[in-house]
Assembly symmetry: C2
C-alpha cells in the first residue's frame, strides 16, 4: 500500500476508536446516572439514564457500518483486520452495557425508593466496581494494553463476589418482609444487571487480548462465586 493509503487507513481506525471512546463515556455516564438514581430515588435522573441509551445505540450502528466499509475498501490483513473486528465486537458490548444501565434505571422507577439502606450501599459498591471496570477496559483498549485488560478480566471476580452477597441479602430481606417481595424482585434483576456489565467488560478484555496477541484469552477466568449462574 502507498503511504497516503496507509495514513488514510490509520485515520479511519482513529475515527473508529474515537467513537468507541465516545460510546464508552456515554455508557459509563449512563451507569453512573442509573446507580445515583437508585441511591437517591431520583426519577428525573433515572429518566435521563433511560433516554441517553439511544445515542449509544446510534453510535453502535455507525461503528459497525464504518468498520464494514473499511474492510471492504481496505481489505486489511492480520493485526489491522483484528483491530476492526474487535472494534465491532466492543461496540456491541458497550451497547449491551447501555441496555443494562437503562434497565436498572427503569427498575429504579418501580422500586420507588424502597431499597433498604444496607442494600443501597451494596449497590453503590457494585456500581463503583462496574464503573471502574468499564473505565479501565476502555483505557486498556485505547492504549492496546493487554496487561491492563487482563487485570480487569481478573478483577471481575470481586464484582461477582459482591453480587452474590447482595443477592443473598435481597433474598433474606424478602424472607423477612413478605410485603417487600415485589420491589425486591426488581432489586434482584438490577443487581444481576450490574454483574452482567462486569461480564461485558471481561468480553472486551478478551477481545483486546485477541486484537494484540492474535488469540483469545483462555476461558478459565478466576471466579469467586461457586454458585454463579450466569
Amino acid at each position: 500500500m502507498q503511504k497516503h493509503i496507509v495514513t488514510a487507513f490509520e485515520e479511519e481506525l482513529q475515527n473508529l476508536s474515537q467513537k468507541i471512546s465516545k460510546m464508552g463515556g456515554l455508557a459509563e455516564n449512563q451507569l453512573t446516572m442509573a446507580i445515583k438514581s437508585l441511591e437517591n430515588n431520583d426519577y428525573e435522573l433515572a429518566k435521563r439514564a433511560i433516554l441517553s441509551d439511544k445515542s449509544i445505540d446510534k453510535l453502535e450502528l455507525e461503528v459497525e457500518e464504518e468498520a464494514i466499509l473499511m474492510i471492504a475498501k481496505r481489505q486489511p490483513m492480520a493485526l489491522d483486520l483484528r483491530r476492526i473486528i474487535v472494534t465491532i465486537r466492543i461496540s456491541s458490548d458497550l451497547e449491551r452495557i447501555g441496555d443494562l444501565a437503562k434497565n436498572i434505571a427503569k427498575r429504579v422507577i418501580k422500586i420507588n425508593g424502597r431499597t433498604p439502606k444496607s442494600l443501597v450501599s451494596g449497590f453503590s459498591a457494585m456500581g463503583e466496581l462496574a464503573k471502574t471496570s468499564v473505565k479501565n477496559i476502555l483505557d486498556a483498549f485505547a492504549a492496546s494494553d493487554v496487561d491492563k485488560a487482563i487485570i480487569v478480566w481478573q478483577n471481575d471476580k470481586d464484582l461477582d463476589a459482591l453480587y452474590n452477597s447482595i443477592f443473598k441479602e435481597i433474598t433474606e430481606h424478602m424472607k423477612k418482609n413478605g410485603d417487600h417481595i415485589d420491589y425486591c424482585t426488581h432489586l434482584h434483576f438490577a443487581a444481576k444487571n450490574i454483574e452482567r456489565i462486569g461480564d461485558h467488560a471481561t468480553n472486551i478484555a478478551e477481545n483486546i487480548h485477541y486484537m494484540v496477541r492474535g488469540e483469545m484469552l483462555s476461558d478459565d477466568r478466576p471466579k469467586s462465586d461457586l454458585i454463579k449462574i450466569s
Copy 2:
C-alpha cells in the same frame, strides 16, 4: 464480476446461511432441552443443554470470520453486503439465545424440581411460544420472507403477556410461601430468559426486514405488557 466469481460468492453466501440454519437448529434444540429439563426435573438433560452451548458459540465465531473474509475478498455492495452484515448479526442473536437457554438449564439444577405444577405448565407454554418464534424466524430468514418475519415480530407481544402473568404468579407464590423464595428467584430469572429469547427473535425479524428492504423496522413494536421492563 465474471460469472464464476458471482457463483463462488453465491456459494459462500449459501455456506453462511447453512451455518445460520445449523446454529438455529442447535438453539431450538437447546431451548427444548432446557424447558423439558424444567418440566421433568431432568438433571442429565439440563447438563446436555448446558454443554451443547459450546457448539453454537463455535459456529458464531466461524460465521463472523467467514463473513468478514467475504467482505474483504468480494467487496459486495447493497443487498449482498446487507445479507452478509445481517448474517453476522443473526449469528450473534442465536448465540445469545443459546446462552439464555444454557442459563435456564443451570437454574433448573438450582430449582431442583420444586416448581409448582401450575407454574410448570406456564413455563411449557412460554417455551412453546419462544421455540415457535425461533423456528419461524429462521424459516423467514432462509426464505428472505419479510411478511413472515413481521408476523414473528408482532407475535412477541403474546410471549411478553405470558411472561408478565407468570412473573406475577411466581411473585404471588413467593408471598404465600416465604420458604420457597430461593428457588422462586431462579424461576423469575428463568422466565425472564425465555422472554428475552423472544426479543432476540424480534431482533432477527428486524434484520430480515433490513436485509430485504434496506431499512430497519420502526421501533414501535406492539407490546401487550405495559409494565414491561426489558
